[in-house]
Amino acid sequence: MTAERRRNSSPLSRRSLWIAFLLAPAAVIMMTFVVWPLMSALQLSFFRFEGLTPGDFVWFENFNKVLFQSPFREATYNALWHNIVVFFALMVLENGLALLIAYALLKELPGHRVHQVIVFLPVVLSAVIVAFLWKLLLHPLFGVVNAALGLFGIMGPAWLGSEPTALGSIVFANVWHWMGFPTLVLLAGMQRISREVLEAARLDGAGDWTILTKIVWPLIAPSVTIVTVLTFIGSFNWFELPLMMADMEGSPGRSTDVLALYFYRTAFGSVTSGIQDFGQGSALAVLMFLFVGAVTVVALKYLRSREIEI
């Protein structure tokens, strides 16, 4: 590019080109390997399937089935309800604990580096390992957890086998597995708070709780936004852990069924119980897409509005 041409090109279009250059690689890769395949799959929700191939175009028949027709309707709302429960449980347990641990780590007490390494250690494990481990630890007959309860004379339940405890047990394993991640995101946010601010507050006699809620909390708003949105999306894509700790059917009695399992089971079938219906499965996925997308947009608007620039 010569100096002549550079002077001629308007600053606006050069800026646009620069922005386009920044956006293009990610956009092209996403288009090719995510958006386009997803769109082709989602449009299948308008077809009635003959075996594994699309047959007639049936407009909203598949949507009508999963939203309004028994017994699919019940399964849909049951799974949706579990996703919502999982989201709130993770927000309180996983992210709540993560906030406290991050704050404790921020104090840089002796050994804080070791704790920082340890709290994140389970995150590097695969869901397969976590599922196997916790199945063994929660085993109704041979498990460590019930053995420990036995010491106090308590007969522990069949954690994963009974409806009241199954979902909670899997949520717990998820907290164990992933807690390190929000801890680090929140810690990274906290470390950007100027030390003088915290010091000043402390000199004014503010206790830890006041500092955490009144100073740290508002100042880590961007981190909270990230953690909340990722938890929300993660809760609605929750799949591997329930699949491997319970099964594809959401056992026992659909008490661990969530939307992603339900949609996968519907679209691809399961060797031990069902057959495939890609149309109905895609309809479920479209609904998930719309629901998660809409809530994310609204939530982001709200969360962003409470962020303040540091």
Binding site: R15, I19, P25, A26, A27, I29, M30, T32, F33, V34, V35, P37, L38, S40, A41, I101, A104, E108, R113, V114, H115, Q116, V117, I118, V119, L121, V124, L125, S126, V128, I129, F132, L133, F142, A147, W176, V185, A188, Q191, R192, R195, E199, R202, D208, T225, I226, L230, I233, N237, F239, F263, Y264, G281, A285, M288, F289, G293, V297, E307, E309
Partner: protein, 292 residues
């Protein structure tokens, strides 16, 4: 006065507390952190122990230490799989994917976070939309797409799929962090006549190191551990990733929990060791953005 302003523990402990409860409270916090550490580590200990046990031992005495170091399970895994080859493949695929995710996502996030342009919000939503449904749904069209591009059964195919899957959350996290960076630095650099590339590369991105570390680790872990996409997209044994190779291998021993745990431990070992080895850099990177 607390140790919050200091970075060295020795220095802080020599400093007197401003009020009496401080030491006690810090002790309680320490105790809770250690309790947490035990809860985090105990299951891992069980996993490693189980890999030295026979099937009967796991069920009859799950809590006990193994009866001696039984390496039979380890030998079985080692001799019947191309363990090193799989591990090399996993390293290559994971490193390349994470690098690519970081580069393209940071670029896109930088555009969205630092410039005001029409539809920038829509762009963010476009990227976010990739996270809302599991890509597993689209496995058949994705497979056809890769087939059309001649990317089936190649490293490149797998890397591009992982990159595409990683972009949404990476763009989201990076946008969040980049947006929170102060405008003044950028403005003053601009006034000094620095061009946009220099501002991005030399001024802004160094401040975003913690976010990059988070993005890297958040993507590296699931990519390293994934076996679904390799199972479907990779068929040559020489290209198989570690979880894929071990999943197939472990399938031949479905009821042998000892072998299963050995396989799982071995699959987890490389990334766990890598994490522990790099944890210093990892944490340093994470605290880089700290404003002291």
């Amino acid at each position: 006065m607390t140790d919050i302003t200091s970075t060295s523990p020795a220095q802080s402990s020599s400093r007197p507390s401003t009020y009496k409860g401080e030491g006690l409270k810090n002790g309680a916090i320490q105790a809770l952190l250690w309790l947490n550490a035990v809860i985090m580590l105990y299951p891992l200990f069980v996993m490693v122990m189980s890999s030295f046990k026979s099937n009967a031992e796991i069920f009859s005495s799950p809590l006990a230490l193994p009866q001696g170091l039984n390496f039979a399970n380890l030998e079985k895994v080692w001799s019947e799989t191309n363990f090193l080859q799989y591990m090399g493949n996993s390293l290559l695929v994971t490193t390349a994917s994470v690098a690519l995710i970081l580069v393209v996502s940071t670029m896109a996030a930088y555009a969205i976070a630092r410039y005001e342009f029409r539809h920038s919000g829509l762009w963010l939503m476009f990227f976010l939309s990739g996270m809302t449904v599991p890509l597993k749904l689209a496995i058949i069209p994705l497979f056809l797409q890769l087939n059309a591009l001649n990317l089936l059964n190649t490293y490149a195919g797998l890397i591009l799929v992982y990159t595409a899957m990683g972009i949404p959350s990476a763009v989201f996290i990076m946008t969040g962090f980049l947006r929170a960076l102060p405008k003044e630095l950028e403005e003053s650099a601009r006034i000094d006549g620095a061009n946009e590339l220099v501002i991005m590369w030399q001024v802004m991105l160094p401040l975003a190191r913690p976010a990059m570390v988070i993005v890297a680790i958040q993507n590296a872990v699931p990519i390293w551990n994934d076996f679904f996409f390799p199972l479907i997209l990779i068929t040559s044994d020489s290209l198989k990733t570690l979880p894929q190779g071990l999943t197939v291998f472990m399938g031949e021993f479905v009821t042998d929990w000892g072998v299963l745990f050995t396989g799982l431990t071995l699959a987890a070992l490389p990334i766990t060791l890598l994490y522990i080895l790099l944890s210093r850099q990892f944490i340093a990177g994470l605290t880089q953005g700290a404003i002291k």
